[in-house]
Symmetry: C2
Subunit: 317 residues, 2 copies
């Protein structure tokens, strides 16, 4: 039997209870209603995944649902905001029960893990895309902006860069075997939420790495009107990249993106706080450079030689 | 020269100032930040327009931008909420400066008229679609829900039904001339925001008519666990429908939708308040029936005879 838009929403996307008492009304009216608690600001971000651009037609719908939410949670992490509410607008070619079931399972796997309520959205017919808007809370004035970096601050990244890029490269090259952790990073990235929340106390500027370190760090630098010197040999690259030429490795590590690690700046006085924080999380923090007042992004090698790196971060157009 | 995603956002979608001081940060960081004022709840709705489903490939991009926002404002009207903030995620086949310019003009025409701030979103490559999420405020507990209708309440609709449906019908039939007001209703619907806001004092349940009176009134009835008797001859139909067979006219007036009028219920004691309200707005209010406790939707003609009407409101699947 064919399901209507309303049946699809009811069957696949409506949960009986809200996790967050601040959700006054969720799915089922013309709009959802939230009560933002006193002393908090609402933080809002939207990201769309489109078939043919962000995933292939044959992609596992579980992964699509998972990743659509993961990349949005990553934006909340980069703001130091706790994500609580999400809306999802789905466009579908056809009503395929198995596909919807898997999409919804992947989506709710993430939603459960991070205690998020799906509060609205819509279901439309057309070329497949998933448009997710996420909303979270941050104590008044404590959001991590891109604009607060100061000359002298240390620059850090979380985790490892270039893993997703390598998975994509290996798939395109037709590798027989690709490390599962590596594929998982591409298909089911884990947002660095705990670190983003903890950084509210120590960080002057923060961004999540979706378009590549070079492009995303540049956003911090231009918003903060500063520059940076990055020690390229300190960048925590995915180990398989060491098998490639240096140029290829650097390109995959800093120009492709889809890492969903955080890049942030922090005054030197907080370096012990950060070390302590890193000891309490399985994700490593690596200091890769320094903020400078001159508005350039400079890459240097072990010998202090400056290296030119082409700017070809992921671009949609 | 080809514009990047960031250039497109900067050139077409970023305004120098926010209209609403509650916008702490708009476009340009990982997320936007809002401060919801004390005593208010946040109301959130999302609606997507997809090429080939909601508009044709040759549709005027100005109209697409206009309508994408109009249908979302209509949801706020139906909640009695004042819309203030909006995010838009655009998916585009290619970077066409004229198309983007027109889309942005249509969108901001509505945004200016209703003092809305575009606070975020994204731009992605793929089959054309516009995913808009709107957010507004309502004083605590005053939102117009679908669930408050009580047996004995009067049922009203604003304006005229079937105008958009007729425009679509006339286009499909290849009519040489179609009334401009009628085409405008299809392409640039005017949300009934002033009425929605005023109804907070007088209405027990409210919905905007996007899928057709029959489908949308049914949402109120099922959410409120009541039924209705509707005097079909009292429905304010678009005048051109009188040229058609009764069956055709009724179908276009109640089963096609895209009206963006409001359907609401109100206790009889407020009928003078509503009359007074109607005198102060150019949009008429028409009482079309009564809420009953029996959970049926009954249509009756002038002679009190019950009429069977097929349920074929607009369905996506």
């Amino acid at each position: 039997m064919s399901l209507s838009e309303f049946d699809i929403i009811k069957r696949y996307f409506t949960k009986p209870h809200h996790k967050n008492p601040s959700v006054i009304t969720g799915i089922g009216d013309d709009a959802a209603i939230l009560k933002v608690p006193d002393g908090f600001q609402l933080v809002i971000s939207a990201d769309t995944l489109v078939s043919g651009t962000h995933f292939t037609e044959s992609a596992d719908p579980y992964d699509i649902g998972y990743k659509a939410l993961a990349v949005n949670i990553s934006d909340m992490a980069a703001m130091g905001a706790r994500p609580l509410y999400v809306t999802m607008s789905i466009t579908l070619e056809k009503n395929d029960a198995d596909w919807l079931d898997a999409l919804s399972s992947g989506f709710f796997c993430m939603a459960e893990k991070y205690s998020l309520d799906l509060i609205g959205g819509d279901v439309t017919r057309g070329p497949v895309s998933i448009c997710v808007q996420i909303m979270g809370l941050v104590p008044d004035g404590q959001a991590l902006m891109r604009s607060g970096a100061k000359a002298g601050d240390d620059i850090y990244v979380t985790g490892t860069l270039g893993m997703s890029a390598f998975a994509l490269y290996a798939k395109n090259q037709g590798y027989d075997v690709i490390d599962e952790a590596c594929l998982n990073r591409l298909n089911r990235p884990e947002p660095r939420l705990d670190i983003g929340l903890a950084l509210r106390n120590f960080s002057t500027a923060c961004i999540d790495i979706s378009d590549g370190l070079q492009a995303d760090l540049s956003h911090i630098l231009s918003a903060s009107k500063v520059g940076a010197i990055i020690d390229i040999f300190k960048i925590p690259m995915y180990e398989e990249l060491s098998e490639m030429t240096t140029e290829q490795a650097i390109n995959l590590a800093i120009n492709v993106g889809d890492d969903y690690e955080l890049c942030f700046t922090s005054p030197e006085c907080h370096k012990d706080d950060l070390r302590l924080m890193a000891e309490n999380t399985p994700v490593k923090l690596t200091k890769i450079g320094k903020v400078i007042s001159n508005q350039d992004l400079i890459w240097q090698d072990k010998d202090g030689e400056f290296i030119e790196i082409a700017r070809n971060g992921y671009k949609h157009f």
